[in-house]
Amino acid sequence: MEKTTHTIWVYIEKRHNTIADVSLELLSKGRKLSEKLGGTLKAVIIGHHIDELARETFKYGAQEAIVVDDSDLKDYKTLPYSRILSDLIKEHRPRVVLFGATVNGRDIAPRVASNTLSGLTADCTDLQISDVTYMKKDYKDLLLQIRPAFGGNIVATIITPDNPIQMATVREGVMEMSRLEQPVDGKIIKVPYVRDEIDKMITIIERYQEECRVNLKCAPIIVSGGYGMGSRENFKLLKELANLIGGQVAGSRAAVDAGFVDHDRQVGQTGVTVRPKLYIAVGISGAIQHRAGMDESSKIIAINTDPEAPIFGICHYKIVGDAMTVIPAFIEAYKNKLK
């Protein structure tokens, strides 16, 4: 019998010398899972000059930070990062390992799962710890990995019943970030970097990464347009409304694919998940993949010419009409209220 633990690990992703939001979200979620599991929550950070980041994880509930620090590890590289993490996992046998479903999270996680022969579920939208009966066998405290599948048409609960290590990636913005009032008095465990020839197979020639320009996740109001907006030009109307009511402009995948709005403003399963106070969906039919990213908004106004559009199934206020007349009327009505 292989050794198993009740430990949850969160792989910490760096972004411009800070911790990526998704990693803090995972620590926040990991804290709750860890309470249920009755184990320890640990953060794993690979990089250079990262002690401060390690301490930051204690504010989100990590009880221990495993730190691999070396000047050669300054920037993310598949190798050596995945090799280091795989070796740590094989040595310490955590029960659960969580990664952000970012480009680099989706680069490292499968490699590590492949190396350690662990189960890995991509892009989970919820994680729970629960007892499960599977194939007439009872399992205690399994990680339920809940994710949309089949283009979002089904929701699947995946389990890793007979494997000691359960891994999952989670998209940014899906879990809520919650900071502790009082940070944990955590330990920093330093692990030396042991070089390997394969670490040199890939070199970074150049890296260009913008600061995140758009922060949809924090916007209290989002005005979002779909393919029904018709053109990039018409999207300006949404921008005008958003500016007026203090919101951000977003779009559905169809609107992004059509070039009406930039990709970093995409809401939905393959974009950002948002839960603003108000979400105004304009000319969005409401495909499941879009709704998965916004259906937890506190209030939803849907504007669509098609009275049967699926978006109306989840909205609070339904307006049947053409955006090009409804939005200007809305803007005018709002301005009147301000007078």
Binding site: R15, T78, S82, V103, R106, D107, A109, P110, A113, S114, G119, L120, T121, A122, D123, V132, Y134, A149, G151, G152, N153, I154, A156, T157, I158, T160, N163, I198, M201, I202, T203, I204, I205, E206, R207, Y208, Q209, E210, P220, I221, K277, A287, S298, K299, I301, I303, P310, F312, G313, H316, Y317, K318, V320, T325, V326, A329, F330, E332, Y334, K337
Partner: protein
């Protein structure tokens, strides 16, 4: 000389275009009715491999793992210009998760042997996991470059690639062989060549089963898959409680009042 490529391709149900015809009366999708298509990013991966061949010579081998019906997909690869195709099919491979799939692909690629580049789509639209490429690279002990946007050059046994990262891109140089996973923006797949389509019309792609590969059966298919589907719920389109607002001045004015009362506005 030239560079030999292996391209991993998959036939997938067209989940991106769900029409009314495949919806069941209860609002769920009838998956059996979805048409089977060439996974879009795999087609782009094949295109990149063919471009390498056009520019530098070499051979392109397309591989798919799936039911016998997936032979259709391999014929499409031939129509586009692939030199060789192999269908990996065996009931014992059924029900594989990404780990079990990558194990079989490792064995397949080791058997093919002579390669410099392995291409795959970043992810397949039926699962959207993006795991099989990296998992296969790990098992082969190869470097990988995921989210490939562009191949900048290949020379002296090295390849320079631009890949997408969150909020930007990076340029990496890798030794060969390397496994690349490719995003949609990387290239536009070429159309079928009429001549090839004629030549391969009745072609039956060679099949490899467990007997052709030195695989441990316990690591294939369902038994080799650590992840299991515990529960599946169809997403049902249902009408919730909502209030209909007249798109008139009065209607919109009342709505704005409500939102102001709820402290959402103002």
């Amino acid at each position: 000389m030239g560079y030999n490529s292996i391209v991993l391709v998959k036939q997938v149900p067209d989940t991106a275009n769900i029409s009314g015809e495949v919806m069941k009366p209860d609002g769920t999708v009838n998956r059996a009715k979805l048409p089977a298509i060439f996974n879009p990013e795999d087609k782009v991966a094949l295109e990149l491999a063919l471009q390498v061949k056009d520019d530098m010579g070499g051979k392109v081998t397309a591989v798919t793992m799936g039911p016998p019906k997936a032979a259709e997909l391999l014929k499409e690869c031939l129509y586009m210009g692939a030199d060789d195709v192999i269908l990996i099919t065996d009931r014992k491979f059924a029900g594989a998760d990404t780990l079990a799939t990558s194990y079989v692909l490792q064995k397949v690629i080791e058997k093919i042997g002579d390669y410099d580049l392995i291409f795959a789509g970043r992810q397949a639209i039926d699962g959207d996991t993006a795991q099989v490429g990296p998992q296969t690279a790990e098992k082969l002990g190869l470097p990988q470059i995921t989210y490939t946007e562009k191949i900048l050059n290949i020379k002296k046994g090295k390849i320079k690639v631009q890949r997408q990262i969150d909020g930007g891109h990076e340029i990496l140089e890798s030794t060969l062989p390397v496994l690349l996973t490719v995003i949609n923006d990387a290239a536009i797949p070429r159309p079928f060549k009429a001549k090839k389509a004629m030549a391969y019309k009745n072609y039956v792609p060679p099949q490899w089963t467990t007997e052709d590969l030195s695989v441990d059966i316990d690591r294939c298919g369902m038994p080799g898959s650590p992840t299991k589907v515990h529960k599946i719920e169809s997403v049902v389109l249902s009408a919730g409680d909502h209030e209909e607002i007249e798109p008139s001045k009065a209607g919109l004015g009342e709505l704005i009042d409500k939102l102001m009362n709820d402290h959402i506005f103002g």
